[in-house]
Amino acid sequence: MPSVPLSWYLIVAALLFSIGAYGALSRRNAIGILMGIELMLNAVNINLVAFWRYVEVEGLAGQMFAIIAITVAAAEAAVALALILAIYRTRDTVNVEEIDLLKW
């Protein structure tokens, strides 16, 4: 076993996830929110890889899931940014508080 215990990785991932969540929930800029979400996805990947190394070493599943998660994250970022750019073009803002067409 490596000299770094599993819990260290998990704590780093937990902290990164919390910071990302803070960024995603507190930012006004839609791009800033997206960046926070990317951080959260990264935290999840740290967990997946750490569990692969410490729990299921001989298998592929942990890293495989991480790769799929990266793929989905990239697709999500591409479409989300396209949406943000479309909104910017029509409404001239990327401030989520002003994008409230669907609010009741």
Partner: protein
């Protein structure tokens, strides 16, 4: 403290410090630069834990592709970027700060108190992960492999349709 632990602490500090820098930076562009540092730190963590292939992929996809995409999107929304006085947070940010701090505390306690079912000492670690991954894609994980290409196709078409001005 072993060399491995030292590298871990450095990488973790870079990751978390840059993450804090990202969420507190006033300018979105600077925030994106911090985010790139976070990605680099996470890549270092991946390599340290033994997933070298994934570490390289992290640099390739996150720094080389997603970060550049985000930077481009920031460049394409100049009226937002050019305004230095725009408030960075929304009204609910103090509440969010309390909540996420609580979340971090709860998760940390949970991690420390759980008895993780660790693998047996001396279990062989797979080597040559890229080859194993390739084999895996062609056998067990063939569905994710093909679905990924469909997912990317959909993302490509969707994003082009949404982003292009007619």
């Amino acid at each position: 403290m072993t060399a491995e632990q030292f590298v871990f602490v450095v990488a973790a500090l870079i990751t978390l410090g840059s993450a804090v820098g990202m969420v507190t930076s006033r300018s979105v562009f600077v925030g994106a630069l911090w985010m790139i540092a976070v990605f680099g730190g996470v890549a270092a963590l991946f390599i340290l834990v033994g997933a070298g292939f994934l570490g390289i992929v992290q640099i390739l996809i996150y720094i080389g592709a997603i970060a550049v995409l985000i930077l481009f999107a920031i460049m394409l929304t100049p009226r937002v970027m050019g305004d230095p006085n725009a408030p960075r947070y929304n009204r609910q940010w103090p509440l969010v700060a309390v909540m996420t701090t609580g979340l971090a505390a709860v998760l940390t306690v949970l991690v420390l108190r759980t008895d993780w079912p660790l693998a047996q000492e001396g279990t062989p670690v797979i080597t040559g992960f890229a080859v194993e991954l390739g084999k895996g894609f062609m056998t067990t994980y063939i569905l994710p492999f093909e679905v990924a290409s469909v997912l990317l196709l959909v993302a490509l078409i969707g994003a082009i349709v949404i982003a292009r001005e007619e």
